[in-house]
Amino acid sequence: MTSRWLPHPLLTLFLTVVWVLLTNSLSVGSWLMGAFLGWGIPLLCQDFLLKTPRLRRPALLLRYMLVVLYDIVAANLNVARLVLGPPKNLRPAFVEVPMEIEDEFVLTLLACVVSLTPGTVSSGLSADHKTLLLHGLDVDDSEQMIAQVKNRYEAPLMEIFECSRT
């Protein structure tokens, strides 16, 4: 799938779509220009791009994105409710979540997803990449929160991407 002249096919596709969206026209010209940029940029930057693990289950990725999108909306409503309620009732907490994912790219993805979803902001990753520190706005039970992060967000990512468990 990957070759010397097309090192990151998915990145090429992504950049092409971004370019077409930027020019906001579906003309042949913008597709061609997008394809050219999508081909040239990864080629020039391939030495400092992170190695991404192979995508194993694309369909599952789509489902995961929908779950995350739903959770983002839920998170917004939830945070809005907490913000407007009395601040005295909030129970903020730092929670350490042990990570099983090793790959840097997937870890970044997970940290972003966790920041965007209900009541948690990722605020640190240990130097050995084994623990993620989260700050929760209103944590009822930290064990439950750890379980939610691991089951709802980490486990599907490990299934979607080819990556080893620690």
Binding site: L21, I72, A75, A80, V83, P87
Partner: protein, 109 residues
């Protein structure tokens, strides 16, 4: 533009503004730095999202054809918001910013 589209666009704009306002209120009302981080990372995403959808409907309904470049704003927001929040939290921990006393767990150095 039909009256229904106008209604939908107006409703979306109002919803978006409300969430942006709630995010700002959160920044003002919550008690310590880490709690305040939650406002801008969450409430604003839905606020910006609604305004973007309103803009897409508005410009697509006019003669110029479909308009989708607003989607890029969402994409960039989803990439940048968590990263900046993470960096802010890390630097706050290094500065040893004061926490609300009832915070459980300990921040790292």
């Amino acid at each position: 533009m039909s009256i229904w589209l106008e209604l939908i666009v107006s409703a979306l704009l109002l919803i978006g503004c409300t969430f942006a306002l709630i995010g700002a209120i959160g920044l003002f009302r919550l008690q310590d730095f880490f709690m305040r981080l939650h406002g801008p990372t969450k409430s604003t995403t839905l606020g910006v999202g609604s305004i973007i959808v309103a803009s897409m409907i508005f410009f697509s309904s006019r003669a110029e054809g479909l308009s989708f470049h607003e989607l890029l704003i969402t994409l960039f927001l989803f990439i940048t918001a968590p990263v900046s929040a993470h960096m802010l939290a890390r630097s706050a921990m290094q500065q040893k910013v004061k926490l609300v006393e009832r915070t459980r767990g300990t921040p790292w150095e």
